[in-house]
Symmetry: D2
């Protein structure tokens, strides 16, 4: 692979670089050997240097000269081949439209282009879809499941943090007909960075430390994309149960799911055989995936083993007492659940080895 600096590098913009996902994107892109970060926007930090705002990154190559600017599509189109949007939903679409029209490749970390059906978007996000005509162009960028489409996409809608933690373990079993999708019950525990860098009382240190609480019950917005993808894999409209919780860690999502085996798969089998089938499906699906760590039927996930990495790890058990399958996954909400996964999509789009810049 040729590495002559300045010639083949992908010129990249990060739009909305001041939140936690934006900050993680900037770090990963500065470390990425095939990328030149050329535009960094933030209304809040416009005019300040990267070194000043994110001193952690000041030693990284390319960091010295970077400065935040106000977001401006013309500048992005001039300076970048590819733009990451780390903006609130609704706002992201305002940038995606002119950038796509101008020929820029866009990887959007917001929810704006994840939901194919504008009515579902409106149901869950409480406003009409801001750019419905772009929806056809958009690919739901779960790399392990949409690699071919991502490769040809101009607009990638990078999945949400909770959906990633649920879909990667569930989709293979649904596709293989091993479980009844409508029996899925998912409980997720998320670190506080998931709430963003916003000055709200409920996210103050003293309010979150020594506290655990559910929120967004019973209809969290992420259900829209989770159910869309599960329905596609199941071949029929599927509703699931999902309860998120806030826990006092900076990063990480731990999701515990239970579900009933499908009658076909299960009734004719001994439990050991059923569990063996689950394990086989996982190994067939993910054995060659760089970022999926299969912990099997004896390991257990722990967010501390994935935080700071693009890995998701999961373990599974069959409970002979209840007849249910239990699956437990762990990921970093800011990496595999946001910025790392978006870069994984970029690597696919640009033809780089998928783990480039994502070793740890």
């Amino acid at each position: 692979m040729s590495q002559t600096i300045g010639s083949d590098l992908t010129k990249v913009a990060v739009v909305g670089a001041s939140g936690y996902s934006g900050e993680e994107l900037v770090k990963l892109l500065l470390l990425h050997p095939e990328v030149e970060l050329t535009v960094l926007t933030s209304r809040q930090y416009a005019g300040r240097s990267l070194k000043d705002v994110f001193p952690r990154f000041s030693n990284l190559p390319g960091a010295a000269s970077l400065e935040f600017s106000s977001p401006d599509c013309q500048t992005i189109l001039e300076k970048a081949d590819l733009a990451f949007l780390a903006l609130p939903h609704g706002v992201a679409a305002e940038f995606a439209l002119p950038l796509c029209e101008g020929g820029c490749t866009v990887i959007d970390l917001s929810a704006d282009f994840r939901i194919h059906d504008p009515e579902t978007y409106e149901e869950f996000y409480g406003a009409p879809h801001p750019a419905p005509k772009l929806l056809e162009k958009a690919v739901y960028g779960l790399p392990e499941w949409r690699r071919d489409e991502i490769q040809k996409a101009q607009l990638v809608a990078s999945p949400g943090c909770y959906p990633t933690s649920i879909l990667l373990p569930c989709l293979p079993l649904i596709r293989a007909g091993l479980v009844q999708p409508s029996t899925i019950i998912a409980n997720s525990l998320s670190g506080v960075s998931g709430a963003g860098r916003k000055a709200d009382i409920p996210f103050l240190y003293v309010e979150c430390n020594e506290s655990v609480r559910p929120y967004g019950v019973p209809k969290h917005r992420h259900l829209s994309e989770i159910e869309q993808e599960i329905s596609l894999a199941a071949g029929q409209k599927t509703i699931i149960q999902f309860t998120p919780h806030l826990i006092p860690v900076n990063r990480g999502i731990l999701t515990t799911m239970t579900m009933a085996p499908s009658n076909d798969a299960h009734s004719t089998d001994q439990p050991e055989n059923y569990l063996k089938k689950v394990t086989e499906i996982y190994e067939e699906t993910y054995a060659d995936e760089a970022f999926v760590r299969l912990l099997g039927t004896s390991g257990l996930p722990d967010t501390k083993h994935v935080v700071g990495t693009n890995n998701i790890e999961f373990a599974w058990r069959y409970d002979p007492r209840t007849g249910r399958l239990i699956i437990m996954s762990a990921e970093d909400n800011l990496v595999k659940g946001a910025s790392g996964q978006a870069i994984q999509s970029m690597n696919i789009l640009r033809g780089y080895p998928e783990n480039t810049g994502l070793l740890l």
Copy 2:
């Protein structure tokens, strides 16, 4: 109420006072206006003063003169009317037997006398029951459900932390026939004090901080008492799903449960009516309870609102999309889940107002 010091006070022993539950017991008993703490045992701390081991309590009345001794049943029988056992399961029975025979009232915080059926005990605890003949004497001491039996008991088996967080919200609905008990799926998140004061690598600060993990999957020991009590309320043997998790807080348990409405209760009703029935049952059951805080259908529990208190709080929702009921509870694992609840039983036994010494 008469308060002549030294005359009417209940003389109390705490056996095994060096763990986290034991420490909390000691604090609550020192603050209790009707108690004189006369014996404090700990193999580890024998010979040391209370002030030295637990400096926090040094100002409390009666603390100045207390000293840890080695556990010895004869001394306890001589000096105490009532003994709390804060010992590991298996060990507790060794003390309960001679103390009960000697006429002492015993409130056991271990699992030894919670399970009526010795075979179930052996199945879940991996050893034959250490004192099966005492089982008939024992009352499962969930005060809100066994007040009358506790009042007359000589041996109270105080419930486990997870069971308390599940049973108090579930039992009223099961008894009223509003839910299908076998559909209960409970996910619990516990603070690290639940693991006890033991020098094990997995419970070191660095191993628990910035970490979230499930454990004890799929057959945690507490299932034995949870299912015993649910089966009794349901009138039939019932199995449920339960997954505990360890989260980085010192104290607190947050439990999220889903369950299906019973066909009777639900099919003939509008969802609002069903939810109204649930709320009515909760209000009928718990309106006069000092330690149950009903958050209703709009509030949400938070461990920080109950930690340090004997309260349990819970909220409920009906999810019209899935047709399931969601119940979320929060308690302090060391207070309502252990020491506070044990003192609540003592108050019942001794005829004190149930919230004596448990205001906060």
Copy 3:
């Protein structure tokens, strides 16, 4: 002691009850056997019930009927004998003035009346003193040092959290001439509740967790009252070094101080003798104090042993290598450093035993 409810109770108002100190005050006052909490003000929470805003306290006697109102001096004067002001500096004086004129006793937790000299106030707080004529009336309410004056005061200026952690260990040695006050160097580590319940980015969970940082260097506002009191004890104007730090705990201040022995005390003595004198002075000064725990020359303080209590604990060492004395103290910034100490002053003022309502 007579306890006929409603007759002898002190009627108390808490003005500004929505911050962390205000919340702690409310809890302690609800638990106080000699107090009836009659007025609770908060601009932010006006119209909401106490049970709604602080669910933790809903079981406490008197809590059921309490509601937040907008602050209004006329109402306070009608309903309360004594008012605690838990307001920002500058605002507190606006209430203190009419309340004192109206005959109410005032215990102010802000800095407004701690500094005798209005010029020093202006130097450190950046604005002219808001009520200079009240300054003569005000007593600096460090109970262990001003008991007699507090007893007769109408306006008590309750000390700041850092000053309490520094003054209680230093004043006895200075008064006894054992140390050179101008050599005092104090480093304090404070929990995040010290920053108040304000929605500011630097105090978000993610910004404080896994972070340690100094702030307010080199001239923190609390130096004004620390140096005032040290100068009074020393008999001459004294300047000290003080650096505060923010650490990821909810509550607690740990202060480490070094200082040089005075030439008199030291030169003629063996180090052991010097240390013995220090210990003697501490024992003479504090042996009978309910809230001062002397850890001596082998113990070490830990914030976890004082958090939630009105205690301050400290230990001391002589370093023969450097010839300096090292003193380390721990307290709860919200209790001994704020609300607990204010109640201690109230107890003195009202003639109650000083530890009433402050056992833990």
Copy 4:
């Protein structure tokens, strides 16, 4: 630079890879482009694969095939050019001796070879030096100060975590005669990983969380190397004051130091001029250093800006009220304070650019 795999790579052993420093070393070496990690020893983990013990690293190049073995000098000498010793003091010397004799380059992270004088070692470490004849060979490996000696060394004694945080800010000022070294008073706050991965009650989650405490007062072992290096820079034997504290973060050291300006530098100058001189010295000394971030006279350090990096950052102030200089530094105790700094020495020794493998 040539990168033909297998030809020029430095073959490296990590001896004692199971502690927190060892784990960090392994991560950094797996990411290092010029290193092949060939031997990984741990008594505790012998026979287990790296992927099993440290799942976080399983995606890193070279990780797949690595396995822990029992420490054995013969194997290390056969398979490695350079060995890192991440062992307790006393034990490290047992390996350093045969490895040096066998021709291996050794970078020792323990204290065994940091102290030139065996009597000082015995005074501070409580046992005779285990290999005094090796002491002459050893270089105290603070890269910014001993680059030339490190380059030629066979045995590098990598500095301790606290000493690094104190020496880098202090040495330039001492060498330039700007401060009086014997007036240095340092207070350090360390994350719990500094205590190692040992199953001790005081380091359990519940004992450290919501706790802050001093320890090792007044004569922490690290004083021996701090004073050795300060004395060398000062040209005379110097004693300083140092108090370490444990705070509830996983990683990071924050050190706050005060010191008196030297009479020469200060008396003839305005404070602004003195401060300007300090800033000039820092810029002269560290402007070209990759890992020293100078925050100047308005910034303030925060451990969250350096954790996970090999950077140390520091800020300074002159306090005109006390006439003292205040310096505050932040570093990651496991990276710049241990493993990262050791790799920095390896880079120097092997002629690699000093920041190779240490960008973040």
